[in-house]
């Protein structure tokens, strides 16, 4: 399918990304997958530090595979923002853009005079988005906005793992990813508004606010009850949910049981040990019921239990690891990954945009840019040369 002929939804939108690592760049990635033109503004020395941050020492030429994963489908423009000439050129570029996003610590953009008030003078219709760790005010404003630290401070670590476990982090950068995704939401809503009002919009969001929002059910329940939600003692999967909700060991693997009414569960498993438990006990006897279930389920295989439960339409499924998932026909049928060609020899596979428009997948095949790869072309295209301004 030739997508260049079919307009993606954000065709014609120009985004400047003054960001590094994950939160801001993941927002830029989504916008580019949806059809926006995204230009990374990077410093000429090292650029986005994610370029030199590898996972498992995987590199593609001079950049980490991680950088390639987060920055495909973008352009790179280098500028030393401390040089008046180069800053003037960037300002001219800002005057042509629809959106700019930054994730510098509070105060940095103000010092460069690239804060919202100044940028609005350059471009009266700009959508200006800024990401911080903990908001711009208060005692934490200067703390490093790093994902694990924000997870620690947001209360999130008391939702996973069992009651007596140490606080258990999410093993992914949920704060960065959610914050980036919410920035995309706000940027798009602001574009809708800008189109009607012709006015600039400023968006502010912090990783901490994103992770509090993420736990909105937990917070609201706590406000209503005055009690901190407790992880179950065994097989915890969600502090607000009663038995049997959890993951259980079987004789050859693991099985997940979601909300299944006690009556149905008893019928499906047909074990006398469960007889005395009723639906009304799924909270008061949560740990006890889960322990009894754990001892029942470990006696047979995952397939045995899954068949029994799914045959009755009950919410249960065996765990799959990535390899098992990838080997399923549905993985290929749903076309869940894509290949990015760097050169004739170098290529890699990666995820794709999870949103489809008019039945089509939003592929994004253009590899991440080398540092400053597009500086000259962008200067020409937008006539940025400050000597001629």
């Amino acid at each position: 399918m030739d997508q260049s002929k079919r307009q993606k939804p954000l065709a014609g939108i120009l985004v400047l990304e003054f960001c590094q690592y994950l939160s801001g760049p993941s927002a830029g990635l989504r916008l580019s997958d949806l059809g926006a033109r995204v230009i990374k503004i990077e410093n000429p020395g090292k650029g986005d530090l994610c370029r030199i941050l590898p996972i498992k020492n995987q590199w593609i030429e001079d950049n980490s595979l991680l950088f390639h994963t987060i920055n495909r489908n973008k352009e790179s423009y280098t500028a030393n923002l401390k040089s008046n000439k180069e800053l003037a050129e960037v300002k001219k570029l800002i005057s042509k853009a629809h959106v700019m996003i930054h994730n510098f610590r509070p105060g940095v953009m103000e010092k460069l005079r690239l804060d919202f008030e100044e940028v609005k003078k350059l471009n009266s219709k700009i959508v200006f988005a800024e990401i911080s760790g903990y908001g711009k005010q208060g005692p934490w404003a200067k703390k490093p906005g790093q994902d694990l630290l924000v997870q620690a401070m947001s209360g999130l670590m008391y939702n996973s793992g069992d009651r007596d476990d140490a606080p258990t982090p999410f093993g992914l950068a949920i704060g960065d990813i959610l914050c980036g995704a919410q920035i995309v939401q706000a940027v798009l809503a602001a574009l809708v508004y800008m189109k009607r009002s012709k006015k600039a919009v400023k968006i502010e969001l912090s990783l901490l606010e994103s992770l509090i929002d993420f736990q909105f059910e937990i917070f609201t329940t706590y406000f209503a009850s005055g009690r901190t939600p407790q992880r179950s003692a065994v097989n915890n999967a969600h502090p607000l949910l009663g038995a049997p909700y959890g993951i259980y060991k079987t004789s050859d693997g693991h099985i997940a049981l979601a909300m299944i009414p006690m009556g149905d569960l008893k019928e499906a498993l047909n074990k006398p040990e469960l007889d005395k438990y009723k639906q009304s006990m799924i909270f008061s006897k949560r740990d006890e019921i889960k322990s009894v279930l754990a001892s029942i389920l470990k006696e047979e295989t995952s397939a045995y239990w899954e068949e029994k439960l799914q045959a009755r339409g009950l919410w249960a499924a065996n765990l799959k690891n990535w390899k098992e998932l990838k080997n399923k026909a549905s993985y290929r049928k749903l076309r869940l990954d894509q290949e990015i060609c760097i050169s004739e020899k170098e290529k890699f596979r990666t995820n794709r945009c999870p949103i489809r428009f008019n039945g089509e997948i939003m592929w994004g095949w253009i590899p991440a840019p080398d540092l400053g790869a597009h500086s000259e072309a962008i200067k020409d295209e937008f006539q940025l040369d400050a000597d001629q301004l």
């Binding site: 059809g35 939702n159 982090p169 939401q185 809708v192 400023k202 979601a258 919410w315 596979r349």
Partner: protein, 382 residues
């Protein structure tokens, strides 16, 4: 500040994924009308998921559905169906999270809706996409976590696969659906055309893991290895993790091991000059750190590490967090009120626009609460 003023969303969705998407649209100023079936309505109203109730309905329902209206309709009855059609005719967005085929059967497929309203944005969340062997399975959060490998990333390697204790797949799928709807609105503004927007929980769960899943796709498909000690991320080196102290827990992010050794007075760690060993020997290093850190309080360590710009933080539970000045300054809490006067304290939309918080005190609707007012306003015939 209403970014989406004038946008009307007709929302057929239930539970969490779809309703969390329309909640965000409502926060941005869109008008969201829930279409609910008589009797039970959105099943989330009665879902036995929480011990805590508001007005005999689940707190969770009230949390997710604040600032929306409710229109009760029996979609199997011709009369009600016609009323909903004429609502859709005047709307901008239709959204649902039924399993594949249900909206078609009810007479509200994209093609059918497009006939009534050519510029409509029609958005749906499925569990597993509309083809393949899983398409008819229940799209439930824990089941999607379990299919997509997420539990193998959390908790120490000695523990069971550990699910993420928040409905992360529901929330991300909802987040992605809202992104798609908003992008479609941007497109409609420039081309005048509507769109079909589709998201599945499976695709959202994989997108969430894109950094580490890409690593897996390119490293010969090695499975992720959780650390045996103080686990926080399968692909990150020591000290990345959470450590017990005499009075709580301390989180340590990426940091140079010799520097950490020097600051904490652990001479054994000062010899780890090669960063490669921070990964290959991470359990050993974490063990040494854990033994040392458990000897003093969290604040004791913070006073040493923070001035040296080491990435560290105290671990809070919700009760400890909300007592902090750094939490209070965010003003995350707000009160919403139902039409019958029940007050519920909840959290606000995390985004600020032009320096303003996006707040609304309108509580969740009771089932069919707005049938009459909507009928009058939209000219629906009985």
């Amino acid at each position: 500040m209403k970014l989406l003023e004038g946008i009307t969303v007709i929302d057929f969705s239930q539970f969490l994924s779809g309703p969390s998407a329309s909640l965000r649209l409502a926060d941005f100023g869109a008008r969201v009308i829930k279409i609910e079936k008589p009797g039970s309505g959105d099943i989330c109203r009665q879902l036995y998921v929480s011990e805590v109730e508001v007005a005999n309905e689940s707190t969770l329902f009230h949390t997710i559905n604040r600032n929306k209206e409710s229109f009760k309709a029996d979609l199997k009855k011709e009369k009600d169906k016609k009323r909903v059609y004429s609502l859709i005719k005047q709307a901008d967005v239709v959204m649902h999270n039924f399993r594949p085929g249900v909206m078609e059967k009810l007479g509200f497929s994209y093609d059918q809706v497009k006939e009534i309203n050519t510029g409509i944005i029609y958005a749906g969340i499925s569990g597993y996409g509309d083809k393949g062997e899983w398409k008819d399975l229940p799209g439930q959060d824990l089941l999607l976590q379990s299919l997509s490998g997420l539990p193998y990333l959390n908790g120490e390697s000695t523990k069971l696969p550990t699910p993420m204790g928040i409905s992360v797949v529901d929330i991300l799928a909802g987040t992605h659906l809202a992104q798609g709807i908003l992008a479609a609105l941007v497109k409609r503004d420039s081309t005048g055309e509507g769109s079909l927007v589709q998201v599945s929980m499976l695709e959202s769960a994989l997108d969430f893991q894109f950094e580490v899943f890409t690593t897996f796709l390119n490293d010969g498909e090695e499975p992720p290895q959780r650390s045996e000690k103080n686990h926080a991320h399968s692909y990150l080196a020591a000290p990345y993790g959470v450590y017990e102290t005499t009075d709580g827990f301390l989180a340590l992010a990426m940091t140079s091991i010799p520097k950490l050794g020097e600051l904490l007075g652990i001479s054994q760690l000062e010899e780890y000059h090669d960063p490669a060993r921070w990964f290959t020997q991470r359990d050993f290093i974490k063990d040494i750190l854990a033994d040392h850190l458990k000897k003093e309080t969290t604040d004791y360590w913070l006073h040493i590490l923070e001035p040296a710009d080491i990435w560290c933080a105290k671990v809070f539970n919700i009760e400890e967090l909300i007592a902090q000045p750094g939490y209070k300054v965010l003003e995350m809490e707000m009160i919403v009120k139902t039409s019958k006067g029940h007050e519920i304290k909840t959290t606000r939309c995390p985004i600020r626009i032009n320096g303003e918080k996006l707040e609304s005190s309108v509580g969740a609707p009771f089932l069919g609460e707005h049938n009459d007012s909507i009928a009058v306003e939209f000219g629906l015939k009985n």
